[in-house]
Symmetry: C2
Subunit: 338 residues, 2 copies
């Protein structure tokens, strides 16, 4: 389906039917996700590949980065091809969950003239870089969009498709704990469980499987937690020494900020990660009333209202002092009236 643009000019084919039609017209499709893939990226791209194969197409998933070890339990995830470029013999590239061409690494840099790019994404910031663009910011996840795509292509999810798509929905909705746990996401999940997805096994895969040293590092980092601004700001820090003791990297500490964030009365949670002798990565989470993207912006960073970050070219202790002063000031603007 095409609709006239807001300016009455160019008609963009923007929706699901157009994406499905473009795929049906193709024979060989590369399905591409973004760098640093998380559960929704792997679930939606691998799920889409399996859907396209059921629809009679040749399809293969490509990613510039490897599938994280924690996601290799997803059926078909082992077949994802890590590549710096796409093969020549293609009719279409289905780009999923990627707001712009840079997000897919170099995979769209060099593409043959006759290959159509189909852009399926739920990010509000999507640049509509495809020949066909189906962009729905109201969707919980790219996986929910692929579930609709399967319906449009007449494909009933197999248990493997269902597992990938439910993993994506669970990943992006925090297992239905975020505000994007919409009625349609929950209904899609219901049909995926009917199709054979097992929420308990997916949760084990997504949230279990920790290494023992991750628990040790968590214990050490939680021990650093402190509150300032009368309890409105809670912070934790991760030093290179702690990471070295655990034999882990900064990426293994992704979810740690959820702990200070979960403390009652906390308006701003901050996690400091020592990236180098004069480099400190800072993550922020909001309790709902402080716009932490603005806070991160004070230090050249950015993000969303509820989650943001920045990197300071300062040693940990100095970065901490500066950022906490700003966080405290921001928190006081909302606690002064409570």
């Amino acid at each position: 389906m095409s609709a006239p643009g807001a300016d009455g000019g160019i008609a963009w084919p923007t929706d699901l039917a157009a994406a499905a039609a473009a795929l049906r017209a193709a024979g060989r499709v590369a399905v591409v996700g973004h760098v640093n893939p998380e559960p929704d990226c792997i679930g939606s791209t691998v799920g889409a590949t399996l859907v396209l194969r059921r629809a009679g197409l040749e399809a293969q998933t490509f990613n510039a980065d490897p599938v994280p070890e924690a996601l290799r339990f997803l059926p078909g995830a082992g077949e994802v091809v890590r590549a710096q470029a796409l093969p020549d013999a293609l009719d279409a590239v289905l780009v999923v969950d990627s707001s712009d061409p840079e997000r897919v690494g170099g995979l769209l840099a060099r593409r043959p003239r006759d290959v159509r790019v189909i852009n399926v994404d739920h990010h509000r910031t999507n640049t509509r870089f495809g020949d066909v663009n189906w962009v729905e910011p109201e969707m919980s996840s790219a996986a929910e969009m692929v579930w609709h795509l399967a319906g449009a292509l007449g494909v009933r999810p197999t248990p493997d498709i269902a597992a990938n798509l439910l993993a994506g929905i669970m990943g992006d909705t925090g297992s239905f704990r975020f505000s994007n746990a919409t009625p349609s996401a929950l209904r899609a999940a219901a049909t995926l469980v009917e199709a054979g997805a097992r929420p308990d096994r997916l949760a084990d895969g997504l949230y279990g499987g920790r290494r023992p040293q991750e628990i040790g590092l968590l214990a050490e980092v939680l021990g650093t937690m402190a509150l300032v601004a009368g309890g409105a700001v809670a912070w934790i820090e991760m030093t290179q020494a702690a990471l070295a003791r655990a034999g882990l990297g900064l990426d293994d500490t992704e979810g740690f900020i959820d702990y200070p964030r979960s403390v009652r009365g906390v308006e701003v949670a901050v996690a400091f990660r020592e990236a180098g002798p004069a480099s400190t990565r800072v993550s922020f989470r909001s309790g709902g009333r402080v716009d932490v993207a603005a806070l991160a912006g004070c230090f050249g960073g950015g993000g969303h209202r509820m989650a943001a970050g920045c990197t300071l070219a300062l040693p940990l202790a100095e970065a901490r002092a500066r950022v906490l002063a700003a966080a405290e000031a921001a928190a006081r603007t909302v606690t002064d009236d409570r």
Copy 2:
């Protein structure tokens, strides 16, 4: 609806229609949940009370225990009456989420002759103690049953009803991470979100709102984690000294066992809690292959295949040595073939 018993004898009115009819015939209803109420108990009983009021009945929630502080955010939870006995002027008692009369404390001990007891529960072990029994072990939660009850009574959930019922479903399904996250639970959740329940706010209430000292205690307890049996058994321990330092009680450590349980390769997770100088409470979680109810049974305890517990009349260190020997043996029965 009534159906003949399996023996062809007594006809039990066992289902939803019978429960709804019995409630419709009543004027004043006490809604009763079990002792040590968790989210499904509070959500389903408060939700049921609000449903009955919308259906034109006088209704009030009673519990032998107080509503836990962490659940007081639920709309209407502040109206739950803590009582040792029910008032006399009643037509019916709706008992929700309680497998037997003992589970409700003393609230069913003394009841007037003409009061009908309506038993709505999802526990397989329910003793069918009511005058009307609607027992459905396939239901995810008591809250899901109350959602069906609202439908049978022609009540559309208000936002307050929806919040209570979704809290119950989220509570009992681990926010849709357990095997009881069924298609029908997910569909009920979808309609509850449509009716105004906010999954993000409920998750904040259910999983947030920690006290800072809970994080400190978690850090200390996770620091005790150790693995035995080649990594197949992981354990943690909570001493009275650690609890005293944090100013917290044993009940504040409920979820801590999920951490050793989440470690890759762990078949049996064990949490030791020092209840007194010669009393140690032990909790077990299974990785799926060891029946921890049998393990707990070795020490006079019990539970389910995946989650069980026991109490030993021994000091912590002695209890730990004995239990770990048994846990190690149990884990080896499944790891020897891997």
